[in-house]
């Protein structure tokens, strides 16, 4: 491992904050293939971390381990002080605190937009229907599509669907939001509308972990960038450091290929 201390560099302001996600030497195998190799990182409250790397580098696997959509076999992951274990209640609790946005949106096609958003608040948080509806409409307003509340996902464009997916995750009032390549399945003209929503979310102080290929977003919004390759963390740094003065050869090679 070429860059073992993934916890730095960190500004003093960040260092004083609460730890939101802690990963300590996380390892995961698919059969004999090792997808994650001793991944360690700490993400602080209100921090925006962008994970970059070539495809197949383990970015998505890592982010999916954090709310246990994938199970890591070795190491430790803790979210907001609660360690992930096999206890079902523990997992359900963490999942309801961690919002996730998928590449393929994964909206529920048989439910209207408003029902997509209110389902979990009503059944997991036990919110009365009227409160859940009010919250959902406020969130739709926030992501810029209040007029689509009673449509079905199939009637919306890709960008609108992804914004509904963000609203759906936010309706659970999570402490952390995970984004797994949120713009990769979108047409170019729709990417901006989703990124704008994500920027607004970052400005509001949400803790975010974003796997993406949008370099502009990473440069502008990220507090830190983590670069992964072949299942391990290669380099961690501020966007300025990462884009202008990377230390690792592999990072330089990656940047030369995409920029």
């Amino acid at each position: 491992m070429s860059f073992s201390d993934a916890h730095s560099p960190i500004s003093d302001d960040l260092a004083s904050r609460r730890d939101m996600i802690v990963c300590d030497n996380v390892n995961k195998w698919y059969g004999d293939f090792q997808a994650l190799k001793d991944v360690s990182a700490t993400i602080k409250e209100q921090e925006v971390v962008v994970v970059l790397g070539p495809s197949g580098s383990g970015k998505s696997t890592w982010i999916r381990c954090i709310n246990r959509l994938e199970v890591h076999q070795k190491g430790m992951i803790a979210v907001d002080g609660v360690e992930l274990s096999n206890d079902l209640r523990n997992i359900e609790k963490i999942r309801s605190e961690v919002g996730m946005v998928f590449q393929q949106f994964n909206l529920f096609p048989h439910l209207t937009v408003i029902d997509n958003i209110t389902l979990a608040p009503r059944w997991v948080r036990k919110l009365p229907k009227s409160d859940a509806d009010a919250r959902a409409r406020a969130l739709l307003d926030r992501v810029g599509i209040p007029e689509q509340a009673d449509k079905y996902p199939g009637q919306l464009s890709g960008g609108q669907q992804q914004r509904v997916a963000i609203a759906r995750a936010l309706a659970m009032e999570p402490n952390v939001m995970l984004f797994d390549e949120p713009t990769s399945a979108l047409d170019p003209e729709m990417i901006k509308e989703v990124l704008d929503v994500m920027k607004g979310l970052a400005e509001s102080g949400m803790t975010m972990m974003v796997v993406t290929h949008e370099m502009g977003f990473a440069r502008e919004v990220a507090d830190r960038i983590i670069f992964m390759e072949e299942g391990e963390i290669v380099e961690v740094g501020t966007p300025e450091h990462f884009f202008t003065d990377p230390t690792e050869d592999r990072t330089k090679l990656f940047l030369s290929q995409i920029l």
Binding site: L69, E92, F102, F108, L119
Partner: protein, 641 residues
């Protein structure tokens, strides 16, 4: 996915169609000559095929027509026995009960159509086509049907020396059918006239509401009872009585007219409600009414149980109160939001108690009323699900309220089913014919559907014990012919039951059908479950839904939608398989046509007519189910994703 796909979803209403600002220009239709050339005679091979097909079709249609209108047919056999076919030997003195049943169904059907139907209506263009097609069909039948026979004054068929039937000449036959010529030509003429008078724009924009068409044609059929005195004798008190003037038409025209009025009246009522604020709650109520209707009709209306009220006061009511209050209290506690792990443990404890009760029944440890045992099972199942209904006080009150209503229904029907019937019955089963066919189908589907869904979930479960049990059940049931299962349930099962436990043959048959049907339904639902993408599970998990919530809100609704076509196939299959009742000794539709009517002295050996009528009845109902499912698929947007 494009914006237009939404039209297939619920938002499509009649308004959408009316409001179209501009019509797409009509495809210029080819002149008939060119159309024929393009579609039927485009090449030598196609021409040969076309001519061959027309010849074969003409012979087939001619054969069928000659069969139906042959002088040898005795159509009075099924016509006279209409009541036997529909309700078997239900006593005539109690026939008002049958009309109450039909009336109840008319109310339910009319209200439901008014509440739910979103019919776009039929365009005037289509109606013109239908009219012309009907007219041409009549003309074709007139020409194709062979000429009638000569009869002597007594009505006997005249034969020549070789005892071959003497037929009239073609010209005489055609002039005999003058009335039908006029009818056929009138339909064609009306279609053509309307077509030209309306013009292209109005032909396509004018729409006749489907409800008006359906209720109108039903009304016309009923009106015909008043005009044409269908000349068949009535079948009364088990005897074929030739009382002239007492025809099927004359004895049923009044009740049928009342039924039609009820149907149309409740349709308008449903329409009214659908526009009011209460639509949602009334729809829920209607669903409940449909679910309860087979039980109410069969055990309450048709059987008219004589309830022993002293038993009700001393036994039935106390047991009900014990479960309603005691069970309600348990559920109130279990739905307490902060109960946590203790709630789950208590739920499991209830299941253990419920299973123990049944073990005790079979080994005879202690006596207990059957319905108390069943109530324990229901309590255990509801108790397991109680944590999903925890929340505010009002929500818990509603949960317990539903429980009390459920118990009231369960204990009411248990009491009713255990009470003897007051209606005189000829055989053990007091209904037969179409009635029993429909009841067995309805009850079988109501039992096997939930069972099939549970089996499908079990077979796809990650818990090995459920998976193995479900797979074993499905595979062993599918490996046995249905008739074997029916024989087992009607003849052998009663011998295995412990002392004091009894099962009516009717119930045993339904149980057999349900267990069989459930295995097939399970496989259909499993197909739907496997079509759900992984992302749907992940999205539900990521939101923190528990696995029962994920199954009931996300996975099952989508899986069932996907499975509609095979599920409808299974429903149709179950409906037709009820004809096996004839083999195990019941009097269903088929047995009456095939054995009962041909055994009557007046119609000895008359089978073919009955079978044709019975087949037509099966086909009509099956076709209706099939049509409804197509509509349902379109409305739910199957295949849109």
């Amino acid at each position: 996915m494009s914006e237009e796909s939404g039209v297939a979803l619920e938002s499509a209403t009649e308004d959408d169609i009316d409001d179209q600002p501009m019509l797409k220009p009509e495809e210029p239709s080819l002149p008939p000559g060119e159309w024929v050339q393009k579609n039927l005679f485009s090449s030598v091979f196609n021409s040969v095929l076309t001519i061959l097909t027309i010849v074969v079709m003409a012979f087939a249609v001619r054969g069928l027509l000659n069969y139906i209108f042959s002088e040898e047919r005795v159509w009075s056999a099924p016509a006279t026995n209409a009541r036997l076919i529909l309700t078997f030997a239900y006593p005539e003195s109690q026939y008002a009960r049958v009309w109450v049943t039909v009336g109840l169904l008319a109310v339910l059907a009319g209200t439901s159509i008014g509440l739910w139907a979103q019919w776009a209506g039929v365009s005037a263009k289509k109606l013109c086509f239908w009219s012309m097609n009907l007219g041409s069909g009549i003309l074709l039948a007139i020409v194709l049907t062979q000429p009638g026979v000569h009869r002597d004054a007594a009505g006997e068929v005249l034969r020549d020396a070789d005892s071959a039937v003497l037929r009239k000449s073609f010209a005489t036959a055609m002039s005999d059918r003058l009335v039908w010529w006029i009818v056929g030509l009138a339909f064609i003429g009306a279609g053509l006239l309307a077509w030209n008078w309306l013009g292209e724009m109005r032909r396509r924009t004018i729409r006749v509401p489907s409800s008006a068409l359906i209720f109108g044609s039903l009304g016309l059929i009923i009106l015909s009872l008043w005009i044409v005195n269908y000349g068949h004798y009535a079948f009364s008190d088990g005897e074929f009585i030739a009382i002239s003037g007492r025809t099927v038409a004359s004895t049923t025209k009044q009740p049928w007219t009342v039924m039609w009025l009820i149907l149309v009246g409740s349709f308008f009522l449903g329409r009214r409600i659908s526009q009011s604020q209460r639509a949602v709650s009334v729809k829920g109520l209607m669903n409940l009414a449909w679910l309860l209707s087979p039980f109410i009709i069969y055990w309450v209306i048709l059987r008219d149980p004589s309830i022993d009220y002293s038993h009700v006061w001393t036994t039935d009511l106390p047991i009900f109160l014990a479960f309603a209050i005691g069970g309600g209290a348990i559920l109130w506690l279990l739905s307490y939001p902060g109960i946590g792990e203790a709630g789950r443990l208590a739920g499991v404890g209830l299941v253990v108690v419920a299973i123990f009760q049944f073990a005790a029944a079979f080994t005879g440890w202690y006596p207990m009323l059957q319905k108390a045992r069943i109530s324990f099972v229901v309590l255990a199942l509801v108790g397991l699900a109680a944590s999903n209904f925890s929340g505010e006080r009002s929500q818990r009150v509603r949960f317990v309220g539903v429980w009390v209503v459920l118990m009231a229904l369960l204990h009411y029907f248990a009491t009713v089913m255990n009470s003897p019937a007051t209606v005189d019955v000829v055989s053990e089963n007091f209904t037969g014919g179409l009635t029993v066919t429909l009841f067995v189908t309805a009850l079988t589907l109501m039992i096997s559907f939930p069972l099939g869904v549970v089996l499908a979930l079990g077979r796809t479960s990650s818990l090995p014990i459920f998976r193995i049990m479900s797979t074993a059940y499905i595979e062993s049931i599918r490996g046995v012919p249905l008739i074997t299962i029916l024989f087992f349930f009607s003849n052998i099962l009663p011998l295995f039951l412990p002392d004091g436990m009894d099962i009516a043959e009717f119930a045993a048959i339904i149980l057999g059908y349900s267990l069989f049907s459930a295995a097939y339904l399970a496989e259909n639902v499993r197909g739907g479950l496997q079509a759900i993408r992984r992302g749907q599970y992940e999205a539900a998990d990521a939101l923190g839904l528990t696995s029962p919530q994920r199954t009931s809100f996300i996975v099952l609704p989508q899986a069932l939608r996907i499975s509609i076509p095979p599920l409808v196939g299974q429903v149709i299959g179950t409906f037709k398989e009820t004809s096996l009742i004839a083999i195990i000794g019941g009097f269903d539709l088929l047995r009456i046509g095939n054995q009962v009517i041909p055994a009557q002295t007046q119609f000895l050996g008359i089978k073919r007519e009955n079978l044709l009528i019975v087949a037509a009845m099966y086909w009509l109902i099956t076709f209706a189910i099939s049509k409804y499912s197509m509509r349902l698929e379109r409305r739910l947007g199957v295949g849109e994703r």
